[in-house]
């Protein structure tokens, strides 16, 4: 029983990363029908930006230039990093995606992939081969809830992720911008006729997605404090699986699929021999898709490649 409880806690944490990153994927995917393969590396960039912002803030406050209580540094870091990473994301959209708006979307996916490689390589070239360790922004405390051992960071990570989902959900459902996004997801061709500026909405989707990636990056840095240029690659591809699994046009679907992926990975490793984890976990995904061919929340639709 304790074993199961503990693994639920583990899976909640691991799933929240997939969920938040998949949210970013899903934003762009829903609105523009694009596989934004640079997203994993934007997540990495977000983590690095978070690293530099928080180290900078810590240094400033310890040198006495600014008076900052320690608890304020984390929220400040998150907000600043969200803005900066959103800027990076929008820049990527402007440079690599907008010129290809009329092109086959697979070509745009390729430019995204290439942007990702550029981000990784530049990082390695500029910052060197050294791994960075994320500064300690919260003193970790471990305590027992029931039979599982839980840390305050874990609780925070899950809560912040849930908060992000909720905010995004409200944004998409309630605001005018969100409505425009949903409309774009519904019918890409008709939307400009309604006077909705496609380019602005696209920028917004990328900005929001990247801001989410920054949050994910910082939380990731707190939970797994070793940063390296290639950290976004595998996580990114897996979050991509979650985003598509969630279904197009469904923010909550992506988030839930992210959690599901986290649960599958953790529980397969916990129950079966862990050497077989990927084999079994992704076979389960395959089976799920066989019986639920439209993902969880996506509507049945006929996607046409604009070739």
């Amino acid at each position: 029983m304790g074993f199961v409880m503990q693994n639920i806690v583990n899976a909640l944490q691991w799933g929240s990363f997939y969920a938040v990153i998949a949210l970013g994927y899903s934003m762009v995917y829903s609105v523009l029908m694009l596989f934004n393969f640079a997203h994993g590396d934007i997540f990495m960039t977000g983590a690095y930006i978070g690293f530099f912002v928080s180290t900078g803030l810590l240094a400033l406050s310890s040198l006495g230039y600014v008076v900052l209580p320690h608890w304020l540094i984390l929220p400040l870091t998150i907000i600043l990093a969200m803005f900066l990473t959103a800027t990076v994301g929008m820049l990527v959209e402007r440079v690599a995606y907008r010129p290809l708006r009329g092109a086959p979307r697979a070509s745009a996916a390729l430019t995204g992939l290439m942007v990702g490689i550029i981000l990784q390589t530049l990082n390695l070239a500029l910052l060197g081969a050294r791994r960075r360790t994320f500064p300690l922004l919260i003193e970790t405390e471990t305590f027992q809830i029931g039979l599982a051992s839980v840390t305050n960071t874990r609780i925070m990570i899950v809560l912040v992720s849930l908060l992000m989902m909720l905010v995004l959900h409200q944004f998409v459902k309630r605001t005018k911008w969100g409505m425009a996004m949903r409309a774009m997801a519904y019918d890409f061709a008709a939307i400009p006729l309604m006077g909705v500026p496609i380019n602005t909405i696209a920028l917004l989707a990328f900005g929001l997605g990247s801001a989410l990636a920054a949050v994910a990056g910082i939380l990731f840095g707190i939970a797994y404090p070793v940063l390296e240029p290639y950290m976004g690659m595998l996580v990114g591809w897996k979050a991509f699986v979650a985003a598509i699994l969630g279904g197009r046009g469904s923010v909550m679907g992506a988030a839930l699929a992210g959690f599901l992926l986290g649960f599958i990975e953790i529980f397969v490793a916990a129950v079966f021999p862990s050497t077989l984890r990927d084999l079994i976990a992704y076979s389960i995904i395959l089976v799920i898709l066989t019986f639920k061919p439209h993902g969880f929340f996506g509507e049945s639709y006929s996607a046409r490649l604009r070739l």
Partner: protein
């Protein structure tokens, strides 16, 4: 001279060159290349030493220039003397004669013409590689890259889906053909003594590759069955999951080395073998995409419902295309394993996927010739730019993004490859004095 007439003069010059070059048939270009490699064989080493290069520049001098910019003059003189001049001279001087020859060959039989061209092309490659083991390896890897890119083009280009499982297919092909050859022809401590005399190996190697291809095609069923229940982006996810599954599966198979990799494949993938398989692959795939099946595939891509209404069996069409594509990816994987004579599961991960996708979109979707150009270009680039070290992986992506911006379907996207047209003579007079752009 006024500036207007200067422009006119320049335009005239460019028109003249274009007319001159437009008259050269493929046979002419190949003969030029043949002349160039013969010149390199005879004079290359001496010339390189005289120019102070130390040794023959490997990939047309790009590597040397990047490493030592001071070598630009001597390297360019070398490239000019050994490659450009012989090619240009031979091609232009022999153009009328070879046009006649090409015409006559094609008149006699298409096959004869194809075989002649291939023979010359092979000789060129063989002579070029004979000077250096590194060139040989690059050319072999390049040919394998051509095969894998072609096979991916069937699904991503002609069928219009986004498939991520080709590294997985390659892995299946690589491992099954390796197990085949090691089991039958090598005394190995895992599989025991060779079951057949090793002398038979070169003759049964095609069987091993076919076995690899068939296993890959069987694996493709696992992707195809769930993904064809619906249309859309789920294929991307399913195929990506498949790549993860295959990698994890091989990692858990101790008997073939698990993550430590599998080695001691016999040395069977020599240049003629790889060349022959690449040519076969190109021919079969080109025929396939130009056949009714291929047209049906395009119809499915453009509008599945409409295609269905026009009596295209969409399910059958997609399934065949997918298995066919996987088969060739498996064969390519088998060749790859026997060139490297070592395979490990880590080779067939998402990095390989990015590489193959890059080659495909660089060359062009929906185009056999585009895939060839993409694979050759990408391989050459990534070898030649090695001296840039880490910045290589900034330059290549930037280049690819630029190409995508200006030619969103790749360099040579959507071009049919017509064998007869490619091999035919280019004589302007016969076409009523028009300069006809070839291809």
């Amino acid at each position: 001279m006024t500036s207007a007439s200067a422009t006119g003069y320049r335009a005239g010059l460019s028109w003249k060159t274009r007319r001159l070059l437009g008259r050269v048939s493929l046979l002419g270009w190949l003969s030029g290349a043949l002349a160039a490699v013969i010149v390199e064989h005879l004079l290359g080493r001496g010339l390189a030493l005289r120019l102070g290069l130390g040794s023959i520049p490997l990939l047309f001098g790009v590597t040397d220039i990047l490493r030592q910019p001071l070598m630009i003059p001597s390297t360019s003189v070398y490239v000019l003397l050994v490659y450009l001049l012989p090619i240009a001279l031979v091609a232009s001087v022999t153009a009328p004669a070879l046009n006649r020859v090409a015409g006559r060959l094609l008149g006699m039989s298409t096959w004869l013409s194809i075989i002649t061209h291939l023979a010359i092309a092979y000789t060129v490659l063989d002579l070029w590689c004979a000077l250096n083991d590194y060139r040989l390896l690059i050319v072999k890897l390049m040919l394998v890259a051509v095969m894998i890119t072609l096979s991916l083009n069937i699904v991503n280009g002609y069928m219009g889906e986004f498939c991520c499982s080709h590294p997985g297919f390659m892995a299946l092909g690589a491992y099954s053909s390796s197990v085949f050859t090691v089991l039958f022809f090598v005394d190995d401590d895992v599989f025991g003594a060779a079951l057949l005399p090793p002398a038979l190996a070169p003759f049964l190697f095609p069987l091993a590759l076919l076995a690899g291809g068939l296993v890959a095609a069987a694996g493709a069923l696992a992707v195809a069955i769930p993904s064809f229940r619906t249309r859309g982006d789920y294929l991307a996810v399913i195929s990506l999951a498949f790549t993860f599954i295959v990698k994890s599966f091989i990692e858990n198979l101790e008997i073939i080395g698990g993550p430590r990799g599998f080695m001691s494949q016999p040395d069977l993938a020599s240049l003629p073998v790889v060349f022959a398989w690449t040519v076969i692959c190109m021919a079969v795939i080109n025929n396939y995409v130009r056949s009714t099946l291929g047209k049906a595939l395009n119809a499915v891509r453009d509008d599945e419902t409409a295609a269905n209404a026009m009596t295209v069996d969409t399910r059958h069409t997609k399934m065949t295309a997918f298995l066919f594509s996987a088969f060739w990816a498996g064969v390519a994987g088998g060749l790859f394993a026997h060139i490297m004579r070592y395979v490990n599961p880590a080779t067939f991960g998402v990095q390989k996927l990015a590489e193959v996708l890059a080659m495909l979109y660089f060359g062009g979707l929906n185009s056999v010739i585009g895939s060839v150009v993409g694979a050759v270009g990408f391989t050459l680039f990534s070898e030649a730019l090695r001296p840039l070290e880490i910045y290589k992986w900034v330059i290549i992506p930037v280049l690819l993004i630029l190409i995508m911006m200006f030619r969103p379907t790749g360099l040579l996207g959507f071009r049919d490859f017509d064998v007869r047209k490619t091999l035919s003579p280019r004589d302007i007079r016969e076409r009523g004095g028009r300069t006809v752009a070839s291809g």
